[in-house]
Symmetry: D2
Subunit: 329 residues, 4 copies
């Protein structure tokens, strides 16, 4: 039904697809329907800018009004609440820190669903519990709207360069309408299945990433203790069955690779606090589905302890430093 209601728009979209993209990007904003954007933090702000660049008028809001200043200067219309965004746009993105924020923005007293129009497409790019995504989808469905989860991988840099990867969960028949906008902000858009599977894919990837990173850190540390040169060890692992992204692309040992956080005192990158948050989501979904995740659980605990021991703001590859003997011992 929602699909039906958006039928007219979808026809236009399909038509747009065959238009010369260069022409499209030089058209006036007025020719595209406005897109709502709620949550203009480190990630949301560059994402919204990329929609603007692609010619979509933006209706934006954030709990911190100052976050909206830059976007307003670029021509976005800033409003006071998610409900107001819902009155003015029929495709709305949300990019929020955690599940409670998403629940508030969708179902709170001045939330999207208080004013959402039938047929509106709601795309949540926050990383949250897939169970919450499913709840939001049900709540949206009751109002005649459609909810999709589309969490991202890639950090602030990828967001600025429109190089994010989106993992999308939701009704297949709405996917095209979402994809059109997502490709303005990302390099890869992957359809994962029903609502919540975008979150599931994101959570799964980051859990395996954390396991691989800690595993690489302890393996490199052990090898160095046993007399191996770190660069040589990394080379051996990378041509053997120990190979993983953390060993060959993001090695945690200072001096092994350039251009990664370990080469820069673990500044920048993906902070241990964010990794601990994603592992907390993995743990919650595993607990709720009664799925054993022994290494994922332990990885979660290790990042939790690191957060308490002064590593909260360092890149998650700093686990190498955490496990290492202190200087002078």
């Amino acid at each position: 039904m929602a699909a039906l209601l958006r039928g007219c728009r979808n026809i236009l979209l399909k038509w747009n697809k065959h238009v010369n993209p260069t022409l499209v990007s030089t058209r006036s904003m007025a020719s595209k329907t406005p897109v709502g954007f709620i949550g203009l933090g480190n990630m949301g702000s560059p994402m919204a800018k990329n929609l603007l660049k692609n010619g979509y008028p933006i209706i934006a809001t954030d709990v911190f009004p100052e976050s909206c200043k830059e976007l307003r200067d670029l021509g976005a219309q800033v409003v006071d609440s998610p409900a107001e965004v819902a009155e003015k746009a029929d495709r709305i993105f949300t990019m929020l820190p955690s599940s409670p924020n998403v629940i508030e923005v969708y179902t709170g007293p001045s939330g999207i669903l208080k004013k959402v129009k039938k047929g509106t497409l709601l795309i949540d790019s926050s990383t949250i519990d897939p169970a919450v995504s499913k709840e939001m989808a049900l709540a949206a469905e009751k109002m005649g709207a459609v909810f999709m989860d589309a969490p991202v991988s890639g950090g602030v840099g990828a967001a600025s360069l429109a190089k994010l990867t989106f993992m999308v969960g939701g009704a297949k028949e709405e996917y095209n309408a979402a994809q059109e906008l997502l490709t303005c902000m990302g390099a890869n858009v992957i359809y994962c299945g029903q609502v919540g599977t975008g979150q599931a894919a994101k959570i799964c990837n980051n859990m395996l990433l954390a396991i691989g990173m800690i595993g690489t850190a302890e393996t490199m540390n052990l090898g160095i203790r046993l007399g191996l040169d770190p660069k040589l060890l990394a080379k051996i692992l990378n041509m053997s069955s120990g190979r993983c992204w953390s060993s060959d692309t993001y090695n945690p040992v200072p001096g092994v690779m350039e251009g990664v956080p370990s080469a820069n005192n673990y500044q920048g990158g993906f902070g241990t606090t964010l990794m601990a948050k994603d592992l907390g989501l993995a743990q919650n979904t595993a607990t709720n589905t009664k799925t054993p995740i022994p290494l994922g659980s332990l990885a979660h605990q290790i990042y939790r302890v690191m957060g308490s021991r002064g590593y909260a703001n360092k890149d998650f590859s700093s686990v190498f430093q955490f496990l290492r003997e202190e200087e002078g011992q």
Copy 2:
């Protein structure tokens, strides 16, 4: 000194290198000095055969005389003890199940070192504790011999096809003499550093491999429970930061890849018992060097429990099955 003593041989070897290899292989065995081979099990037997194929006369022994039958039929001389091998060969390979066997074969009452000639090159391809490798090297040095550790990666198939990878630790100046023989049995020969570093590299790789495999298994299981298609999830991981050898080359979930043990009820491959053994070595070296290996330790424990719960003879990727809910629950 040992290098000096073997000087003459090395000169011959270098000369041989420039000879047309086809010619070499058709020459009579008498033109090459014999090579000793101790330990003719599943791995040692095809390795020794590859030396024979390359024209090296073989002097062999094994605690189980019947293991030597095939090699004798192919022309190897079978003798009664490691000491006797040491009397007749000045380059000797050992390929044995574990540290105690290596200690016995080298330093036991009829061990190699009882009769070893000065300048003999001893190459141990067993996977053992690097501390034992160092002990053997010291004991060999006292007798004027040279010890190198050269454990392999790759299983029985790779051994038969001379496609093993050797990780070699020992004196750099002896490496050429070893390499000449190792290239008859393997596709890759990597010099890792001082004695024991070959073992270290092997142990490190297998520890990270075990972590990656269990991590992949629990991640895939979690994703499936959350509604993701296993093939799609594997594809997403493999294009993202969760990528590892276990996800992209040896996926543990039946139906995701062909030609891997998970596609064949976890038959063949690398058994959980062998993985538990290697993780035990990793744990021992970590304990002895006071290195924390939280995920490596837990991986070790998981393979230990699997060994007790009926998975001893299955490929180590069967951890996916171990973690999974039983049918009917």
Copy 3:
């Protein structure tokens, strides 16, 4: 305010306290105000019976009407919904399997809060997430009612014998009114603090219990492998710093103690599924409060795996059997 509204009742209660208990128990039911009881499962049923025995008229309900039969025969009034219970009683117990059931019974369409009278005391003896207890307390407060959490320790046997331990969280000034009823069903009633702390105490105890049990199981197994007699080892631990409840009161090794599940093929007792549930609650609260619980997490994972490997219905001390080498290996 709620306290004020119940003032009259509290005065009566205090008066009752000085009455000869023998007399009280022989008085007609009519002299006591009725108590509501929702959830008549294995635990709820004997608990409600003990209230009946102590002269409290019971208004009962359960989603499975047949669960109420026995209590009806003993004189309880059985009604159709939690809302109906709320109409007829101003002190109500709930004893339910998990958080979602509690949410439904309190806030669902025919839930308690739909009909609750101002000043009603609501006591939830379910073991659930303390965050849900706090939510229920807030929801109850909005209706002018008072919510307390009072989870139990002790199993079905203790419930029948009125030997349960209650850990109570909630407003101190309501504690007396609760205690009067709780002492009819339990031997120990402990006031823990604000709402949710009863659950917190229960969860904390069971997490440490699980850690102690698995620790005892692996320690006993290791000792036996090292040649120690299990009874002697238990005796040594119990007089030393390794002592814990699982070693001295509930030893998991068959033959060490009598009258415990390990003496009876791990029948009866506290099932691994229930332990996994409580550890899931511990994990959730730890994740939500960003508290590292490395051993608690691993204990959770171990009981999860056991649930998948055929130990779901055995007592949680069967972890000894799970860790042990299979017969014949």
Copy 4:
């Protein structure tokens, strides 16, 4: 045979046992045969003093001659090597830091076994790998001597007050001769079985102790985060199934108990480095016997990391502090 050779001495011992102990202690030293003592560190020194106090002449040695000064002043004869001790005493104690020291003192070039007399009783109170104890016992047996392992529990204070607990492994028929001396230094002497079982009992106890301590620390931390008063939580655990030595006798939370290291900034007590060492022994024996110890392994890793993060010299109950959120976060 060894027993036979010591027959005469044993008869005297049995006779001594019936003598009024007050009389014995006032007798001149000359009436007792001298006892050797090797290793006069923090533990060995007070132990040897207690033997002196009980009238046993002491023949002592230590790799650090200055360690012997105090004992010499008290009348002990200090010699240069373990071999020399063996020439002069037929009952010899060793109290050394680790397995390699024990191997050196027994089998080294100037070790005990170089000069040991037939029938000598060798008692090793070091905490080491039981496999090494067995090796030493075999080596001693070849020389006609008898080896027993008798590791202690209790720290320097207990050593000074002769309140140690000894766990003794070795031939039952030699136990009496050992017991006579051990009771001079300890309050409890427990016969555990064959050689190595004393070590096994010690290692098992300390592994379960470490598990209980970390478990208690994380449970208390979680409870506090959930709003429970730490003293109240400790009280609840101690009357429930979560009870263990670490919760009721050595609580790791500052303010809960007096007279324990947690009340004194984790000074004194049993250092994390020592605990990590014992857990390393537990891990080694478990690996060698293929016994899964999931929680013991993780406890080992946690104490390893603590050793690298500045907790090396704090009491092992400081794991509470390690797991806790830093101030100001």
